[in-house]
């Protein structure tokens, strides 16, 4: 009761503030229109006839995947500004002067952001249940898909909120939020698959078979919401060897893993919220001061290409001599050596890993590479 009393004022303020925005209205409208269009376009008609259960399953899969993807991309847009925005508006400190506990502030922010997205999903749910009348999928499977969807949303909201807490600017929080949400909702599965492929190539087939194979499969299944939804729709939740030997169904494994990730992020978030921002350890403050002092005196390190473009711009080369372009590459973060290194070496490492897996799987390198890129598995 005490918890509710503490949380309600801020939660109400956040949720009402969000629901009154024009952005919220348009999002609800668009999601409703899109959700209604799917059953309307796929409803059996006398002229075309109905192609049976497989078609319904395809429609269900498209519906849930579209909802999941849209929700994943909407979450950072709503949660990134939750705490970083308060900092930008200089209202963050004033929140701490109220009677609200830090945990209440964090809970209210998380609940309002997640609540709105869940509300949008609830508005779209009649479309899913209309499709249920076409047959092909049990009610239990639809509910399991919604459970996975909700878990993915809660996990993504808490991850974004954590990055909002760690960032001083909303734009930075949004970028970090998008990166980590995509990583935890699909990127990790791709990375695991890539590691699997590399282990296959480097260590050989025998080394990765056996119990390690099943645990690896379970990790892949439980690290992305798309996989359990796909299994639930097309295979009725069965995963063959994995379920049989480990006794875990994909959606149960996903709920457990996403719950764990969300819990860890939430605890980290609470820890950050409880520690006042002014009371950092002395060594940390000293390090920050040292870093700030060197940042002021140290010249910006730019890549070779940036320096070349600046020089050509100074010489009056068309396009490159544009004053705004010159300002962008001289002053903004994407002109720095660090950004160039990150955006060049990380993708290159990824591409080379994919190429290695492609080569190890035999056959023509280009064909194997294309197969892996477009199907996500080794030929």
């Amino acid at each position: 009761m005490r918890l509710l009393e503490l949380e309600l004022p801020l939660l109400k303020r956040e949720l009402v503030g969000l629901l009154r925005t024009r952005k919220a209205f348009w999002i609800v409208l668009l999601v409703l229109v899109f959700s209604s269009v799917i059953p309307l376009l796929n409803w059996p008609s006398g002229r075309s006839g109905w192609q049976g259960g497989l078609r319904t399953l395809q429609v269900f899969a498209s519906f849930f995947f579209a909802q999941l993807t849209t929700a994943i991309f909407l979450v950072p847009a709503f949660t990134a500004g939750a705490i970083a925005g308060e900092r930008e508006r200089d209202t963050y400190d004033s929140l701490y002067t109220t009677l609200l506990r830090p945990s209440s502030i964090v809970l209210s922010k998380a609940a309002s952001a997640t609540g709105f997205i869940l509300l949008v999903l609830a508005f779209a749910s009649p479309a899913a249940f209309v499709l249920f009348f076409l047959g092909g999928l049990q009610l239990e499977s639809i509910l399991k898909c919604y459970a996975v969807l909700t878990a993915a949303l809660i996990e993504s909201s808490i991850i974004c909120l954590y990055h909002s807490m760690s960032s001083n600017r909303t734009a930075h929080a949004a970028m970090r939020g998008y990166f980590w949400v995509l990583f935890w909702n699909g990127g990790l599965t791709l990375l695991l698959q890539l590691c699997w492929g590399l282990a296959f190539v480097i260590l050989g087939r025998q080394s990765i078979l056996g119990s390690g194979h099943e645990i690896g499969m379970l990790l892949m299944v439980s690290s992305s919401p798309y996989v359990p939804i796909g299994f639930e729709i097309f295979a009725g939740g069965r995963t063959g060897g994995v379920s049989a030997s480990l006794g875990v169904k994909p959606y149960t494994a996903y709920l457990a893993v996403s719950g764990l990730i969300a819990l860890v992020h939430f605890l980290l978030l609470l820890r950050r919220a409880r520690v006042p921002e002014i009371a950092k350890p002395r060594w940390l403050e000293r390090r920050a001061a040292r870093k700030a002092a060197t940042a002021q005196t140290r010249p910006i390190r730019r890549s070779l290409l940036t320096r070349f473009l600046i020089r050509r711009g100074d010489l009056g080369t068309p396009i490159l001599s544009n004053a705004v372009f010159q300002k962008e590459i001289k002053a903004e973060f994407f002109g720095t050596l660090r950004f160039r290194r990150i955006t060049f070496w990380h993708p290159l490492l990824l591409f080379v890993s994919i190429l290695t897996v492609a080569l190890g799987s035999g056959g023509s390198p280009t064909w194997a590479l294309a197969f892996i890129t477009f199907t996500g598995r080794c030929p």
Binding site: V324, F325, E328, L355, L369
Partner: protein
């Protein structure tokens, strides 16, 4: 990766200037709104060059390995010329990557001319790209029952266009690539026009 990196940098182009109070300063100079827009657009393209160049470095490696692995199969030749197949494939990949980079930069810059806040701009840019890459193919798969859906996707979706370069029969690849290039050129020109008009209107309104 281009579709992730470019919007996250370019979508906040104009709102960032507005939030930091630099936009009024920029308008106070002799620069026209077109020049400001051009600068922002090339800045956006430049932000994605890291990923783009990583892909370009990988392509020659694939080509070398492909040549070393043996003769190119006839059924995967490009334009009916077995000796040009690999160069054709490389050309297709470079074309799709370049068009995707310029399109992502144009879309993000255009959205940033409308939005007042970085977060809205970022969210809208990602949503529009998501619509193109995920929702549009899903919509076509759900509605299209005949073969026309594949053709539309091959022309409008960069991943499918790239996939066709790998898997489609040689006669169709050039047609798809030309149509893809034309479609995206029109889209980029349209976005450029919208961005230019939006920047001009905002400039005049603020004055």
């Amino acid at each position: 990766m281009i579709f992730l990196v470019v919007p996250s940098v370019a979508a906040s182009g104009f709102p960032r200037e507005r939030e930091q109070g630099n936009l009024d300063f920029l308008r106070g100079t002799w620069l026209t709104s077109g020049e400001i827009l051009t600068g922002k657009f090339w800045g956006a393209v430049y932000s994605g060059l890291g990923v783009y160049s990583a892909a370009l470095w990988t392509l020659p490696a694939i080509a070398v390995l492909e040549v070393a692995s043996g003769p190119w199969e006839n059924d995967r030749s490009f334009l009916g010329h077995p000796d040009r197949s690999l160069s054709g494939l490389m050309f297709s990949a470079v074309l799709v990557l370049t068009v995707s980079l310029i399109f992502a930069a144009a879309l993000s810059t255009t959205v940033s001319t409308f939005a007042r806040r970085s977060l809205s701009s970022l969210g809208l840019s990602f949503f529009l790209l998501l619509s193109l890459l995920v929702l549009w193919p899903m919509f076509l798969v759900l509605t299209g029952s005949d073969g026309s859906m594949e053709e539309v996707l091959g022309v409008t979706h960069p991943f499918v266009a790239l996939g066709y370069a790998f898997f489609q029969s040689q006669e169709k690849v050039l047609g798809y690539l030309i149509a893809f290039f034309a479609c995206y050129s029109v889209a980029i020109s349209l976005l450029w026009g919208i961005a230019h008009e939006s920047a001009r209107i905002t400039h005049e309104r603020d004055e």
